[in-house]
């Protein structure tokens, strides 16, 4: 139940951001600094989420099959593969490395 509450609050705040852009006078938001922070924060959060999902295991750092997934996804992106292929490459690399015995 607790998770539902945070989930619905996230949905409400997410819609709040979107609506804010439509309701607030443009002069208030047309601020290059705000726009820039929204952009740098998007990059920073996605980089952080990538690395957390690759090496964090609770509060410990672990080098396991997920590193292989990161490398495979990087190669797929380098080769301009579409998003879904990139995701499948990541899954395949992790599953394959586990089959070979690397946890």
């Amino acid at each position: 139940m607790n998770l539902w509450m945070w989930l619905l609050l996230a949905c409400l705040l997410g819609y709040g951001w979107k609506l804010l852009g439509y309701l607030v006078p443009a002069s208030l938001l047309r601020n290059p600094r705000m726009s820039r922070i929204a952009g740098t924060m998007t990059i920073g959060l996605l980089a952080s989420l990538t690395i957390v999902n690759a090496v964090a295991s609770g509060q410990a750092l672990a080098l396991d099959a997920r590193m292989g997934a990161l490398a495979a996804a990087g190669i797929a992106l380098w080769l301009r593969a579409p998003f879904l292929v990139v995701v499948l490459a990541g899954a395949g690399a992790a599953a394959g490395l586990r089959l070979l015995g690397w946890s």
Binding site: L7, L20, I37, M41, T42, I43, G58, A94
Partner: protein
């Protein structure tokens, strides 16, 4: 007028299919992160913003708390406010349309709309991409969530690896030039350094504040990082949109 002859509608439909399809990966990762089917669906129906949705399940999957998941999702949603402002000036929706437009204001619908020059085409592009992605994204989230729950042990199928790949795939189109790469590296480093010392989920929020500080104190492109995950105009893009430093293009 024949809708399918409108270039904006055609771009909107193809971006809907491309983006909608990867709803499968969100659905599958949602149920394996620890959310149930309806929680996963609620994110696609109500939050409806790929980056924020993946952030929420990414934090939950890593053992983070609901508050941390909400925080990461909400911070990633800030850019939609900037898009809303641009689209409000461009499309000037009235009455209930304003509230509907807000809900489908995401990277891809904004990019489809702002890539057109004719005001009618901008409207058609926005609504086609917005509604098209919403419908397909939710259908494919359901498909992925049902398939994900049938898979059994998610690690055996490499689904934790799929999550890593999904985040890198979302980050990649935003790494145009040296500066965004530097921001990404600094934030990744800050995250790794923070992991052993703070509860799960919090390192992501620390990285967000590092990134915000970089944005506050540095002077770069004001639309840096505001690129769609799937570029609707990839085929006819000579240069990225509104990029004053085109020599920085390319990675």
């Amino acid at each position: 007028m024949k809708l399918l002859q409108s270039p904006a509608v055609r771009v909107g439909l193809s971006i809907s299919i491309a983006t909608g399809l990867y709803g499968v990966s969100f659905g599958a990762l949602g149920v394996t992160s620890g959310l149930d089917f309806w929680q996963t669906m609620a994110l696609s129906l109500l939050l409806f913003s790929g980056g924020s949705q993946f952030a929420f399940i990414g934090v939950v999957a890593g053992g983070g708390s609901g508050v941390a998941a909400m925080g990461a999702a909400t911070l990633l949603g800030m850019r939609n406010g900037i898009y809303g402002m641009q689209l409000n000036a461009l499309l000037q929706p009235r009455g209930w349309r304003k509230y509907a437009a807000a809900h489908v204001t995401i990277d891809e619908s904004t990019a489809t709309s702002t890539g057109q020059t004719d005001p009618d085409e901008q409207k058609r592009g926005f609504w086609t991409a917005g509604i098209g992605i919403f419908v397909l994204w939710n259908i494919f989230t359901a498909v992925g969530a049902l398939a994900g729950s049938a898979l059994g042990d998610p690690k055996q199928w490499g689904l934790d690896g799929a999550a890593v790949a999904a985040f890198l795939g979302l980050l990649w189109p935003r790494l145009k030039g040296r500066e965004p790469v530097a921001i990404a590296v600094v934030c990744a480093l800050a995250t790794v350094l923070a992991v052993p010392f703070v509860p799960a989920g919090v390192p992501i929020l620390i990285a967000a504040f590092v990134a915000a500080a970089i944005g506050w104190f540095s002077h770069g492109r004001s639309d840096e990082g505001l690129e769609p995950d799937v570029d609707p105009y990839a085929e006819h893009h000579q240069h990225p949109r509104q990029d004053p430093h085109s020599e920085e293009d390319g990675r």
